[in-house]
Amino acid sequence: MSDILLEVKDLKQHFPIRTGFFKKTPLKAVDGVSFTIGKGETLGLVGESGCGKTTVGRSILRLYEPTAGQVFFDGEEVTGHNIQAMRKKMQMVFQDPYSSLDPRMTVEDIIGEPLDVHNLYSNKKERREKILELMNYVGLNSEHATRYAHEFSGGQRQRIGIARALAVDPQFIVCDEPVSALDVSIQAQVINMFEELQEKLGVAYLFIAHDLLVVHHISKRIAVMYLGKIVELADADELNENPLHPYTQSLLSAVPIPDPDIARSRQRIVLEGDVPSPLHMPSGCPFRTRCQYATEQCALECPTLTDRGNGHLSACFNR
C-alpha cells in the first residue's frame, strides 16, 4: 500500500514520575498505540481528558523521545537524525491558542519562523509574500501582520497557529484539539477551514478532539483512546452506527441526538467511577473497572486490537 503516509507501530511513551523519596514509577501516558494514516486522509482521535492524545501527537513529532515503538513517514522511519528534515513534512497545531504563540512576536514573525528556520526564501520580499499568502489562506487580514498575537481573539490565534503549521507546506499535520478552546460558532468556522485546506493542499490530519461529533464531522476513520491505548478504530460512520467496544458505546450514548425518536429509543449508558490514574493501571483490560460486561478473563489478560470485519478494530473479549 503506497498511499499510506504515516504508520505508527506500537508507540509507547512512559514518563518517570517521582512517587516516593527514591522511587520512580513510569506513567504510561501512551502504551502501545498503532495506526496508519493515508495520504490526504483524516484520522480522528478521541478520548477523555488525560488519556494521552496530546502525548501521541507529540511523540510522533518527536517532541518527546518515545520510550518504544516506531513511526514511519512515507516509508521512512522517523529518528533523531532525520527529524529536522521531517519537520518540514510534519507539523502540529497546538491545543491552547493562547500559550502556543510567543507574546513577543508579531504575527508576521510567528508565521515566518518556519520559513526562517528552513531557509525557505531568498529575500525579504519573498518572505513577506509567502507570509501574506499564508495569512490569506487561513482567512487573516493582511493588515494584521505587524500586530502581536495577544491582540487577537482565540479563533484568530488558532488561525495564526495553522498558518505557521502550513508555512513549510507539510503533508501531515497533527491537530491537537484545535477547536476545543474556541466558542461553538467559531469552532465550525475553523473546522470548515481545516476541510477546505485539506481539499486545496491535500494534507493529511491526525485530528485530536474529545468531542465525538466534531471528529465524526471531519474524519474518515476514528480511533478511540482510553488510558493510553486505542480501544476501537473504525470508519467514522461504521463507528457511529455500530460501536463495538463498551467504552465507545458509552461515549456515543452521551452524544446528543437531534431526532427525539431515536434519542428516546437509545439507551443511555452512564459510566460509573472515575478514570483510573495512569500511574495505577488496572490489570488486564484498562476499561474493566468501569465496564458493565467485565468478566474474570478481563482482569487477567489485556485484550488486543483485532479486526472484526471491514477494517473495524476493537479491543474487547466480550463484544
Binding site: 512576536m105 519562523e113 528552513h118 502581536y148 495577544h150
Partner: protein
Amino acid sequence: MNTNENKMPKKSLLSAQIDLSKFEKATDEEKAQQDVMSESTTFFRDGMKRLFRNPLAVMSIALLGVILVLIIVAPMIIPYGYEEIIKVDGKRDRGAQNLAPFEYSELEQQYMEKTGEKLFPHILGTDELCRDYFVRVIYGTRVSLTIGLFASIIVLIIGLIYGSISGYLGGKADLVMMRIVDIIYSLPDMLIIILLSVVLNERLVFKPGTLLANLGTNMISIFIVFGLLYWVSMARLIRGQILSIKENEYVLAARSIGAKPARIIRKHIIPNCLSVIIISVALQIPSAIFTESYLSFVGLGVKAPMPSLGSLANAARDGIMSYPHKLIFPAIMICVIVLSLNLLGDGLRDAFDPKLKR
C-alpha cells in the same frame, strides 16, 4: 452615484439618519491601499518607540543625559582639580577653607582686584581642605556612576550566564547550581564585603600607570565584591524566568518547527525575560551606588583623595550644622540618579511588555 442617491429615502431635516451620498464606494485602488501591510518593525524598535512616548521615562533619560554631559564636560572647563588645594598666584590659599557657594577667599579677592582678572567661581564653595567642592561632587558622581554601571554589568553577565544554563538544563545540574547559589546567598553579605575589601586592599597592587592602577585598588575590589556576591539574586531571577518560559507551548511549537536550542533561547526565551532583565539591571545600578556609599561611609570605599558621592556625604557629616550644603549636594545627586534610573527601569519594562501596549 446618481442612481444611489435616487434610491435614498427622503431625509427629513432633523433626522439623524446618515446621508449615504457622503459615503462613496472605495475604488479598487483604495482597497488595495488598505491591503498593504503597515511597516514591519522589530521588537526592539517598537519598544523604543513606546519608551519615548512615556513622559517620565523621557524625563529621566534627559536628566541622566544632563548628568552625563556634566560629569564629562565640567572637569574640562573648571580649572580646579578634585585633589588640588586652591592656589592663588602659585601660592597655597589657606584662607579658602569651607567657603560658601560662589564665595571668594580674601586672597582671591585681593588677587582679582590687583590684576582685574576674574577667577573661576567656586560654584559649591570649598571643603575643609580648601578643595573646590563642585569639582569633587562631579568626580564623585563620575566614580559612583562608574561603579554602579560596571558592577551591574558584572552582575548581569555572571547572573545571566549562570541562570540561563541552570534554567535551560534543569534537572540535576540545576539542583547543584542552585544549591551553590543558596550557600552564597546565605552568607552575611556586609560582613563578607568588609572582609573582602580589607583583604583585597592589601593584596591588590598594580603597576603604576596601567589602567587597573588608574582605576584604583578600592574600585577594583568593589567590582570583585559585586562579582562574587551580588550575581546570585540575578541568577535566581533569570533561572526562574527561564524555567517558567520553557514550559510555554510556544517553546514546544518552536521546537516542532525545527528551531535549534540557540535560536529558541535567542528568539523566544531572552525576549520574554528581557523586561525583567532590564528592570533589574536598572535597579542594580542604584543598589551598587548605595553599597559603594555604604562602604565609603565605613571607610572601605574608594580611597581619598578620590571622592565618591558616599564618601563626600560621609565627610560632610562633621560640619553638618555649619555647612549643610556639603551634605545636601551629594545627597541630591544620589537621589536624582537613583530616581531617574528607577523611573527609566519602569518605563523600559512597560515599553517592552507588549501586553501593556496601547
